[in-house]
Subunit: 134 residues, 2 copies
């Protein structure tokens, strides 16, 4: 099958630097963080509103792409499960999906609440959360 | 910034073949479809359960990656908006996110309800929807 090239549009700026210590989910102690976009993508941010939630897509660049099955959350008591049935970061295309609350937008920088991504994580995309009236 | 290579894990098999005629959202007449995974990824599917909803990530390979702002849904009466504040397919990294209901799993093929992706669309990833008890 054809391959495709991801071109990151920015990076996460966060106090989280150690994968082993990182929270697995945002409600497990993740800090606020900055999404720092390359200046050329500033026009794509027009319309993001502080106080709203959006979907953030990242590339989990420290993940192992050969892993196809895991024990969820590294718990030895849980059965081995295919990675497509888990949120494990190790997977063939390690795309991270995060729901983040926008605290502020300052030029090409966006401040968000409780992000469990590591410092330096490449940003791929941002999308609104669909509501019934869209 | 460094670039990364996506390796699709399968393709959508659907009656939808024309982008102009495709529904924009699954509740706008999208047909049932098959997710056809490469056999080598079958172990990653272990744990997917018919009757449940999952998140499907695709690569919108017919999108224009240079577009940074659009009128949402092509509606000339709506203001120009940055693509990160819309669900437009045209965007720097055109990742499609779809919530799909699993009808059946048959080997490395997964039958899903109401998918608005075109026939042949590359599949990147599948993730469970997080629930409070995970």
């Amino acid at each position: 099958m054809a391959e495709y090239t991801l071109r990151p549009v920015g990076r996460v700026e966060s106090a989280l630097t150690d994968r082993a210590a990182a929270p697995r989910q945002p409600d497990e102690g993740a800090p606020d963080a900055w999404l720092v976009f390359d200046d050329r993508y500033a026009p794509a941010l027009d319309g993001l509103v502080p106080g709203t939630d959006v979907l953030l897509f990242t590339w989990l660049d420290r993940a192992d792409r050969e892993t196809l099955a895991v024990r969820p959350r590294g718990d030895a008591t849980r059965p081995v499960t295919g990675v497509f049935a888990t949120r494990a970061p190790d997977r063939p295309n390690p795309i991270g999906l995060h729901t983040v609350h926008i605290l502020a937008v300052a030029g090409a920088r966006v401040h968000v609440r409780n992000l469990e991504a590591l410092d330096g994580t490449p940003i791929l995309d941002v999308k609104p959360i669909l509501t019934p009236d869209r």
